[in-house]
């Protein structure tokens, strides 16, 4: 039920005057362990990356099972987002914006796969599998070597080719 009690109106007048705002202080303190379970974000500096690691070869095997149907062999050729290639195409009439050609941060790959993919079964991959998939996609894009291992230290150190080609229209800090 939404309305167990009447709305608390004591501060409405203050809001109308755009002076100060005050609520009824009904927030319930969150247990740090619960917060940790909800907080799955990875920052561009690698903050939030979990323990674990993955290789290109491991990623290729996971990709074949979890990703290939929608994204095609080697990240290309199916109807959904193209993940690989497009390098040098951003000034062309039909740019191909992929992880390799466009994404500014490698950490975003881990963050996005972990929260949203696979499309039909999100939140089912292990952290090792996500590191492996990230490594495979970076390898296919020619950004890391075939024997590189992705983990909480190596992933944030990857420099994406398009990293310096973004102009901030709003200051980042």
């Amino acid at each position: 039920m939404l309305s167990r009690g009447l709305p608390t109106l004591l501060s409405v007048g203050l809001i109308a005057g755009a002076v100060a705002q005050e609520g009824p202080n009904l927030g319930v303190p969150a247990d740090p362990e619960e917060v940790a379970a909800w907080d799955i974000d990875i920052g561009p500096d690698g903050a939030g990356l979990p323990p674990g690691a993955g290789t290109v070869a491991e990623g290729e095997a996971v990709y074949a099972i979890q990703c290939l149907t929608c994204h095609g062999p080697e990240g290309n050729g199916q109807l959904n987002d193209v993940l690989v290639g497009g390098h040098g195409s951003l000034t062309e009439p039909a740019p191909v914006k992929t992880i390799g050609s466009f994404w500014p941060y490698a950490t975003t790959i881990f963050d996005y796969i972990r929260r949203s993919m696979p499309y039909l079964t999100p939140r089912t991959l292990s952290d090792d599998e996500i590191y492996a998939l990230t490594a495979y996609l970076l390898f296919l894009n020619g950004i890391i070597a075939e024997d590189d291992v992705m983990d909480a230290q190596s992933l944030p150190a990857v420099v994406m080719p398009n990293r310096d080609n973004f102009i901030l229209a709003y200051p980042s800090n």
Partner: protein, 423 residues
């Protein structure tokens, strides 16, 4: 020309545009016989059948007239899915400033979640003194505000605006990622103040409770200024496809940032560079660089009637009707041209004209039956003028994808058919 036309129609611009006084003084009622909704009802039996028997009973929740069921959102899904993608508001079939909730455009990244409001909580954490949970019961007890404001997807209009040749489609198909509602909710600043924001914080990350757990970074200044945790839409609880039971609402900002099904706000020092703010919603320029964090939606307008699919029945008086909006403030003026931009005249703005809301404009037009090109141009209170398509493309190329706000032109053929044209 009909004998029923009002007298003293003052021509104010080329090709038959008439002074907006016609609308401001109530004279527009006389336009009824000549507007798109022609008086087409056939002479029927008298009295009509619905006056001969009692009507239908009362209902617990109303629905629209069955004759209006053809007015539908147009859905476009991502391949292989039925819940990812978007649907467009059929703006050519609507009037006024408010979008009916059932026709509000949609943009989802993993379908519409079926959220039990009793099991839904909002977590605020990160750079705060105390991490807090709020359930819906708690949120309902906070002081709320109501605002009539638009949401526009920043990809709106690009299908036609950035195409080399004009794309055929209805006004809604081409420009229907815009909707305007009364949103009611709790100012986010109250909740952030309760959690105690650390001075080192400059951004927040908002996360939705959909299967994509979609996230966007938002400047803290915006959240403290006018952001809402919206709970009601047009007086009723949010529709599921608009974020039930709670959504972030960021007036004037690109729609993707008003995260639906809001479950978590993390207060941060810097943006998190999520997929949605890096690989998507960045504007690729001709030199290969991209603009990032282009948040406000710029001033824009479109004529919704006449528009493709709505035909003019013959020469005579017509009402040109359209929508104007700006993410920067109020609409100050809308001008209309009926001669392809050679001359312009000021349209009547329908009250109320509100901050970051859709404003309805109307213009009286005596169509002489010759081919014509009609277009609208909006100006907002900051002085920003809606640009031409060509000036946008000259400055930003055709690859930027987002925040296209060029002037839309419709061609009216001699037979009354309306098509999309580039001018």
């Amino acid at each position: 020309m009909s004998e029923r036309e009002p007298n003293n129609l003052e021509v104010v611009a080329g090709n038959g545009l008439l002074h907006r006084r016609l609308f401001l003084t109530g004279g527009a009622a006389a336009l009824g016989a000549g507007t798109l909704g022609q008086l087409t009802a056939a002479r029927a039996q008298e009295p009509p059948p619905w006056m001969r028997i009692p009507g239908a009973p009362m209902t617990g929740h109303g629905s629209r007239a069955r004759y209006e069921n053809h007015v539908q959102r147009l859905t476009m899904s991502v391949p292989g899915t039925d819940g990812s993608g978007g649907s467009r508001t059929p703006i050519e079939a609507l009037e006024g400033m408010i979008t009916p909730s059932g026709l509000h455009f949609e943009r989802h990244h993993s379908g519409v979640p079926d959220i039990d409001p009793d099991a839904h909580r909002l977590l605020i954490h990160g750079l705060v003194d105390r991490a807090l949970f709020f359930d819906m019961d708690a949120l309902s007890r906070y002081p709320m505000v109501s605002r009539i404001q638009f949401i526009e997807c920043s990809g709106n209009s690009r299908l036609t605006g950035l195409a080399p040749e004009p794309v055929s489609g209805t006004c809604g198909e081409l420009h229907g990622l815009i909707s305007c509602s009364e949103w009611t909710g709790v100012p986010l600043s109250i909740l952030l103040d309760e959690a105690g924001v650390d001075p080192s914080a400059h951004w927040i990350l908002a996360e939705g409770a959909d299967a994509a757990a979609m996230t966007r970074s938002v400047p803290l200044a915006k959240t403290m200024d006018d952001a809402l945790v919206a709970i009601y839409q047009n007086g009723e609880r949010l529709r599921p496809e608009n974020g039930y039971p709670a959504r972030l609402f960021l007036p004037g900002y690109e729609g993707n940032m008003s995260v639906k099904w809001l479950r978590r706000i993390k207060v941060t020092a810097a943006p998190m560079m999520t997929r949605e703010e890096t690989s998507k919603y960045t504007d690729l320029l001709p030199d290969g660089r991209s603009l990032m964090f282009t948040f406000p939606m710029d001033v824009k307008s479109v004529i919704t009637s006449p528009s493709p699919g709505l035909e003019l029945a013959g020469p005579g008086l017509y009402q040109i009707s359209g929508m104007a909006w700006s993410g920067l403030g109020r609409i100050a003026m809308v001008e209309v041209s009926a001669d392809g931009g050679a001359s312009w005249a000021e349209a009547a703005l329908s009250e109320p004209v509100l901050d970051k809301a859709v404003t309805r404009f109307r213009m009286a037009w005596r169509w002489n039956g010759a081919p014509a090109v009609i277009m609208s141009r909006a100006v907002d209170e900051t002085g920003a003028v809606q640009p031409t398509r060509q000036s946008i493309i000259s400055a930003k190329g055709t690859n930027f994808m987002y925040h296209y706000n060029g002037i839309q032109a419709w061609r009216v053929d001699a037979d009354g058919r309306v098509t999309n044209v580039h001018v």
